[in-house]
Symmetry: C2
Amino acid sequence: MVDVHTDLLTAQALAERLLITAGVPAPAAAQQAELLVVAEAKGMPSHGLLRLPRLLRRLANGTASPTSTGRHHWSGPSYLTVDGEQGLGPVVAVRALEAIVPAAEQYGVAVCSITNNNHLGMLGYYAGRMADRGLVCLGITTSEALVHPWGGTEAMLGTNPLALAVPARPAPLVLDMATSQISMGKVHDHALRGVPLEPGWALDAKGNETIDPDAAKDGSIAPFGGAKGYGLGLGLGAMVTFLTGAAYGTAVGGTLDDDHLSNKGDLFILLSGGGGRHSTTEYLDQVRRSRPADPASPVAVPGDGARTRYHESVAHGIEIADDLWRELTALDAERREAVLAD
Amino acid sequence: MVDVHTDLLTAQALAERLLITAGVPAPAAAQQAELLVVAEAKGMPSHGLLRLPRLLRRLANGTASPTSTGRHHWSGPSYLTVDGEQGLGPVVAVRALEAIVPAAEQYGVAVCSITNNNHLGMLGYYAGRMADRGLVCLGITTSEALVHPWGGTEAMLGTNPLALAVPARPAPLVLDMATSQISMGKVHDHALRGVPLEPGWALDAKGNETIDPDAAKDGSIAPFGGAKGYGLGLGLGAMVTFLTGAAYGTAVGGTLDDDHLSNKGDLFILLSGGGGRHSTTEYLDQVRRSRPADPASPVAVPGDGARTRYHESVAHGIEIADDLWRELTALDAERREAVLAD
């Protein structure tokens, strides 16, 4: 496969046009497109334009709503409960986050708990955006059961990602990590390229260790970091389940398929305050300046790499997999013909 | 070394007497003693009675206050800022947590941010206690720089533990984990017993990998789970630094020494709500019932092991290292003589 080179604005415009054609209002289309393109720009293609064809099919078949922005209910002065009503993930989530910013500033902390919302995409996007505004943000979301417990052999947990952003200058710390060792996307990528997995990454459907990516597709992937990573992934999943009342375990669907309503839960916590605003910047700089293992690779703080890649992508453009780009431009050509035929 | 067998009540009474003799009021002495004894009972001796002689020295030299319970300032309706005024960790923390429970119930979420407080001990104790009352609890605390960054070679991070508890029946999920691969206590234990470390656990002072525990004592220990564990540990540390304004990195002291004032930060977040109260119990039971890798070892949920050990300790008592027990009983004999001499 050869990659196609494009610039961010072209990719963003293409995604926006396709979403608008699917019935999404222009501002919402821009928001959803931005999430996909920023993921490409930050070097996270698994959360990038790859997701767009599925999203368009979901908009076409009604499992995603082009116009819902979420129904808001304040369960308490600092606790917003949101029924996403199957809207687009970023549209519902950004509106919910904006709604709780004043509460976080007034009360010191605020939460939004979201159900029935489509895939959020790159979780660090939301957290970083809040940290840019001076708030600590913790974001958690559940997902389809793909990960086996530590000491277990069946897929019982989502890859349950965690985003944590802390304000600092010139840029916040932005942690964005799945609690699995690898993503199922990586398993599929290895299968496609015929490259074996590394030992310890996955189990087959019978629960035996495997390095065969095709066997792993029907099996499960490992939690990261052994018992602790498993504990963290399950703990975060249980926290979201408890607070949102969303589906859990093997009943979660709708972020990796075309046909199921999205029934996972999303949770964001915003904290204001910041007696240590200045110290945080100092501390992160001390960590960056500490002695690296490889003199050619300075120590990085979470978010540093993604930020560098983003600036490089803004300056020099991004590479999109050839077949994905073909699919998107073919859809765009259909759209153009339909418009001309009108 | 031979261990001494004792029961929980005897150990608790001994610790209480020693704390009271050091000037701690009886209810506070009971609280501090409970933290130490419950840690022993749950199989976490690194947070157990081992800590008591140091605490008594700190009470004697004024780096720990026997009577402070923390000065409370509400920064916002759901955000309590606490100056621990060098009180005993559990005394200050339990009072702060109790103070924010009503806010969490009224507003949906509440936070306490604590500085100048002595060592909390087992973090899962606090989280589990809150979950028993129907609240989700997230607890984070910073600590002395012992952990090197991913790709780094100097101790720049604390072992920054995380506790997360989620209500469920018959018992909550209680995650309690350091973000380091091992504890520095384990390094010292290996050094004492002359047992080499496992590869990947530690670096020496020059930043080279080592399995020599004596070399590692002056070096640094690894974050758990590679880049992700490092990101989590630093992210949580930066969050506490930002919100509390406490000391950070190599400037943290007072939980592993006799002489420094304790200047780390502690943070707790309580969340009420619970649309998924019933689902959480169901989910955790599904995980426990899922197929284990070893038929003899059922899949466990965080907290299960500690709970089982606790019940065994209540029924059958605990083992305390012989030299530690000698030290504590000698101190108790001194106390008794002093009382008789009065």
